[in-house]
């Protein structure tokens, strides 16, 4: 006797219990603490903060632990938490020119005011597995070995693009006091202005933005980009308090900022000059910041009077509608939910079309005989 499928509720509870057990792993191995994740997996924490759009290293570390290291799942946890938070107001724009930099490099000038500061980078490491780490025998690293530069610089370091701008060689960015749109509070409507595009790119999936940027380098919407400046460091966050009538510092955040400088031979509307692409993300997330600045530049073809070559990175609707990994993964994975009803209706249609097609073949054969 057939009994209709039941037990969804018990199955879900059992699956959750199993998942919790798998998440913990072998209980003879010590559990990870949030502090350990925050301090030792800081780049994962940074990515979760950027794409989760919430600057909170502890919660990001918790999300990574709960998600078993699946960063997109962790980003999703942070987003779902963030969306329930009340909004008290907006900070003043952060002043990245006053950043206390730990890393600051320019690929366009050999030396420049403020100097090149390598900072903590993988760039010139040899990618050889360090088996000493596996043996958990880390050599203590003193401040002296890090070198003076590693202290970072507390003096403000001017933006590289400002030097170019003095000669009028790079486009001028008109400052605006307008309130930028917020795609977490308003539905995204196209065409989008640059502030909205930048917000979407910052929240966008690192892999997606990286591949799009890469595609522009390989010729799909080429923008000839150099890293004009990449800087990582801390900036103060200030907020106007209406009762006080002045801005107070409410905290400090670490940011990565990238300004790409792009060759531009001029268009019908713009003279030959260098143009800019911009990337700004939380924490030390420089791959994302650089990629973002390239995609930002590619998306600016219309305002610079360039031609649309049909490249994916130039296509605002394509980029903005598909950059969000929480949306993408949800819709992708939903196809594993039950679709009995749709499938049944397709089955029935196919059977009907088939039987008619078969009947037609039989009739043709009979006619031929």
């Amino acid at each position: 006797m057939y009994v209709a499928v039941k037990g969804g509720e018990r199955a879900i509870d059992a699956a959750h219990a199993w998942l919790a057990e798998e998440r913990r792993g072998d209980r003879t191995v010590a559990a990870l603490s949030i502090d350990q994740i925050r301090e030792q997996l800081a780049l994962a924490v940074n990515r979760v903060m950027v794409e989760g759009s919430l600057y909170d290293p502890d919660l990001a570390a918790l999300a990574i632990k709960q998600a078993r290291g699946d960063l997109i799942e962790a980003i999703f946890l942070i987003r779902a938490y963030r969306t329930t938070l009340p909004r008290f107001g907006a900070s003043n724009p952060v002043k990245t020119a006053e950043m206390a930099v730990v890393r600051r490099i320019s690929a366009t000038f050999k030396d420049l005011p403020g100097g090149q500061v390598l900072g903590p980078t993988f760039d010139y490491t040899h990618r050889l597995l360090d088996f000493a780490l596996m043996a958990e025998g880390e050599a203590p690293i003193g401040l002296a070995e890090r070198g003076a530069a590693a202290l970072g610089t507390l003096d403000p370091v001017p933006h590289v693009t400002e030097f170019l701008n003095r000669d009028g060689l790079i486009e001028t960015e008109a400052p605006s006091d307008g309130t930028p749109p917020d795609l977490t509070r308003e539905p995204m409507e196209l065409p989008a202005a640059r502030p909205l595009r930048l917000q979407a790119l910052t929240r966008g999936d690192e892999g997606f933005v990286l591949s799009l940027a890469y595609s522009t380098q390989r010729g799909y919407g080429r923008t000839h980009a150099f890293v004009g400046e990449l800087r990582i460091g801390s900036v103060a966050v200030e907020m106007e308090i209406p009762e006080l009538g002045f801005a107070v510092e409410i905290g400090e955040i670490e940011l990565t900022e990238c300004e790409s400088v792009n060759q531009f031979k001029g268009s019908k509307t713009e003279p030959p000059q260098f143009t800019r692409g911009y990337g700004l993300v939380f924490g030390q997330t420089e791959r994302k910041a650089i990629a973002m600045s390239l995609v930002d530049r590619a998306l600016r073809w219309k305002e610079l009077g360039e031609d649309f070559t049909g490249a994916p990175a130039q296509d605002e609707e394509f980029v903005l509608m598909h950059a969000d990994n929480v949306q993408a993964t949800g819709f992708l994975e939903h196809i594993k939910l039950p679709h009995y009803v749709d499938f049944q209706s397709e089955l029935e249609l196919i059977r009907r079309l088939r039987s008619e097609a078969m009947a037609a073949i039989t009739t043709t054969q009979e006619a031929a005989e």
Partner: protein, 296 residues
Amino acid sequence: MTDTLEAGAYNFAYLDEQTKRMIRRAILKGIAVPGYQVPFASREMPMPYGWGTGGVQVTAACLTPDDTLKVIDQGADDTTNAVSIRKFFQRTAAVAVTEATAEASIIQTRHRIPEAPLSEGQILVYQVPIPEPLRFLEPRETETRKMHELEEYGLMHVKLYEDIARHGHIATAYAYPVKVEGRYVMDPSPIPRFDNPKLAACPAIQLFGAGREQRIYALPPYTAVVSLDFDDHPFEASKAPHDCDLCGASDSYLDEVITDDAGGRMFVCSDTDYCRSRCEAGHMGRLGVPQQEAAE
């Protein structure tokens, strides 16, 4: 992963009141312009996009503490996702839940319209994956919005015509497009076309929520809804040519269940509440069992 929700950590029905107000505005606009897709600032929900976040947000915005909620997926109350969404509202809103269609004041559904007729005062909330009926003909939102503005639906008719030319039938089995009050072409969500006639002149309010795509649309009670067709190829609601093997119903949409590996199969109502209430009323299908026996 924990099943306890800190008391007071979240607002009634999860969403904060400002967000609900924003969603209610979108719903009211949708009701005022039947079939028009209203953009709304969809929030991240604690379940993934594609799992019914649009429907969940619409339900959350409509729920009051006195409501009785029914949640179905593929017509069934006990499929995993229906269970999960029902549990979510039990935890966050502590509303009464039911499986009986007639007892529910709000019904959230995925891919089906209940067999039992709905009544005035009820709200049917659909989960919608792709709200744009023209999306697979034109991928760009900027273009499709223009097409709706200009009532430029020729492309859709060409597609349906090509189906007939190629297959002899309109080869759309679910999410069959409809025209609302002679104006907007609307995607009824992926319900089988068997359900399309129930969209029209329905006494209940029908609300459609697409979370990922940030759209809400609506059919107010007693709206004229016509499935697109041609005079010489009229629309046909179709289903498997069988009766339910459990309750014997000949008028309900059926799921096909494979019962062994030798090609054995049976057909049962996809609407589990409809099937159960028919069985309880003494109806019996080919493989059904009398109620007393089943209880023993």
